[in-house]
Structures are given as C-alpha cells and as structure tokens.
C-alpha cells in the first residue's frame, strides 16, 4: 500500500481555493493527509490553516524533523496539526536543503512551536527565521555540532 494523491480531500480543496499555487504535493495514507509546501509558503499557509472556516487547525501537536542524508533536499520538517472543533488532522511537510537549512517560524500562529523549534534547532541545526529566542534547549550551551544529524557519530567526537 503506497501513498496516493489526495486532491479530492475537502481540506485540500479549501486550501487550493484560497491559493492555488500553495501546495506542491498531497498524499493520503491510511486516512492520514500530508501536504508538502514550499518552505517560503509555510508562514502564510499556517495562518490560513489556523483561522479559515472549515480548517480551524488550532492545535499544533508536534513538530519533527528528519535527516535524509545523503539525499538532497536533505531535511524534512513535519508539522502535525489537529483541529479540536472539527476533529480533523493534517500533516504539513517542508523540504530543506543540507546547506544552510532555514524555514520561517510558526511561533506567531501557534506559540507552542517555540520549544519544538528550539529542539529541532538544537539537534538538527535547522534555523527558524523569526523565532523569538532561538538557542539550544537540551544540549549544553557551548555544545558544537548537531547530534541527531546522520553524519554525527553516535558516540560524539570524543578525545
């Protein structure tokens, strides 16, 4: 069973009606809807998803990152959204290059993204443009490198 395109999904139709060029790829797998967005569209799309009637994704459950080293684009950032009034979920996905990965922050839309984004910055080195307080959250402040990247040795760089 593989992902199939989900152009008929009502959520997709609403987003396409709002801005036709916004979504790059859609897919549905076992009832889970995923959208791939161009990184520069993320901030606008987040506002629409949060506020537009019929979407109302008011709860950001999680942000996660994937390192697909050595494939390019290397990084994938996933946003898992939940709409509490409408009981629907959607996953947003942006692809970022290995060289200087930057994506705009969603903290103004969902404040809970603050620590999630800091964690991804800490462990993957993906920067979130416009984040109010982007510094390490788990590793010591003077740590060098991003430990969850695939080219980082599991034992770290030990002397």
């Amino acid at each position: 069973m593989t992902d199939k395109p989900a152009d008929e999904n009502p959520i997709i139709k609403k987003l396409r009606a709002w801005d036709g060029k916004m979504i790059a790829v859609t897919s549905e797998f076992r009832g889970e809807l995923s959208l791939v967005l161009p990184p520069e569209q993320l901030a606008r799309a987040a506002q629409c998803l949060r506020a537009a009637p019929g979407l109302q994704f008011d709860f950001l459950s999680d942000i996660s990152a994937v390192d697909r080293f050595p494939i390019e684009p290397r990084f994938e950032v996933n946003y898992h959204l939940l709409s509490i009034p409408l009981r629907q979920t959607v996953r947003l996905r942006v692809w970022l290059p290995g060289q200087d990965p930057v994506v705009s922050t969603v903290v103004p839309v969902w404040p809970t993204a603050n620590w999630h984004e800091r964690e991804i910055f800490d462990l993957f080195g993906i920067r979130f443009d416009g984040h109010p307080d982007l510094h390490r959250i788990l590793m010591p402040d003077d740590w060098e490198g991003y430990p969850l990247r695939k080219d980082y040795p599991v034992e770290g760089f030990r002397t």
């Binding site: 010591p140 430990p147 599991v154 034992e155 770290g156 760089f157």
Partner: protein
C-alpha cells in the same frame, strides 16, 4: 608542624581519637538524595521497609549537600549534568565519600552516546562501585558495608579519598558480615 610531621599515626591518643571518629562516621552516614535515572528507583527501594537501609545507619537522605557525607550517584550522568554533579560534590563538607551505583555512573552503561559521561570517576573520586543495571538494594548495602570498612581505616592524618580497599578486607568481609537476603516475593 615539623615536630608533629609523620608522628601523628604513632601517637596512642590520636589513634583512639581515630577510632571514635571512624566509629561515629561509619555508623551514621548521611547520603545525599542524588538519583539521576532508573537506578534511583532501587536506591529509593532500599530505604523502604522491605529492605530498610536504616539497619546500616544510612537512612537519613538529605536534600542539601551541606548536610550529607555520602553521594550515591544513582543513574546516568549526562554531560549536561556533569558540571552540576561536580559542583554538588564540591559543596559537600569533608569528610565525604562517593558510591557509584550501577553500570551507567560507573562506565556509561548501555549509553555509549554523545550525551553521556563515560564514568563518574572522571569528575569525582569514587570510593565504591556497585555493579548491576540496576543493582538490587542488597548490592547497595554491600557497597555501604564496604565503605564502612574503608572509613574504619581512616585516620586524622589521612584524608578519606586516599584510603583504598586492601585485598584482605574482602576475606574479612566474607567472614564477618552476612549480606541481607530477602526471599523472592510471591
């Protein structure tokens, strides 16, 4: 100083003071509450009625390093925790001892990872190591009794961390002490 140098240990008065001091120190070791991971659960279990660390005079767990003289490092020491641990150790007043409880704090345990300190003896002097993942409370008691043996050998002229276990102490221990045995629960 020149007159007393090297003569302390030969003096009868001093050795009896040693005896009294060591007896007092080893009979009421106050451990520091320093649980870091799953081993801490076994450390907590050893204070409960079932195992009862109070039998060895070490039941008064203190939340403040100023009031404690034994640091039981029970669990995984991450690199971020390392400086904190070192600082807590330095806040403790002399004489002080350290038990490294479990595989993690002794050698890093299963976590051969970028974030974990590979052995707490890299930052503080450890007196007794306990093997196990996690060690049973009996293991901790064994270490506590070993530490008491060690404290017995201290003198005012020797600082505690200079005292090391001697080989014959193991044999003496086997003869003299029965480690607490608990029948397995039904």
């Amino acid at each position: 100083m020149g007159v007393l140098d090297q003569r302390f240990e030969k003096n009868f008065m001093i050795s009896s003071v040693d005896y009294v001091f060591n007896w007092a120190r080893k009979s009421a070791i106050w451990p520091l509450t320093f649980g870091l991971a799953c081993c801490a659960i076994e450390m907590i279990a050893s204070t409960t009625a079932r195992f009862d660390i109070a039998r060895f005079g070490a039941e008064v767990f203190r939340p403040s390093p100023r009031q404690a003289d034994l640091m039981i490092v029970a669990g995984t020491v991450t690199l971020k925790m390392g400086p904190v641990l070192k600082r807590v150790w330095e806040q403790m007043a002399d004489p002080k001892w350290c038990i490294s409880m479990g595989a993690c704090s002794s050698v890093g345990g299963p976590f051969n990872a970028y974030s974990v300190l590979q052995g707490v003896d890299r930052i503080v002097p450890v007196d007794v190591y306990v093997v196990g993942c996690p060690p049973r409370p009996e293991g901790l008691f064994y270490a506590l009794l070993k530490l008491q043996d060690k404290i017995e050998q201290m003198s005012l002229a020797k600082r505690p961390t200079e005292v090391r276990l001697q080989p014959e102490m193991v044999e003496q221990f086997k003869r003299g002490v029965m480690v607490a045995q608990t029948p397995s629960p039904r």
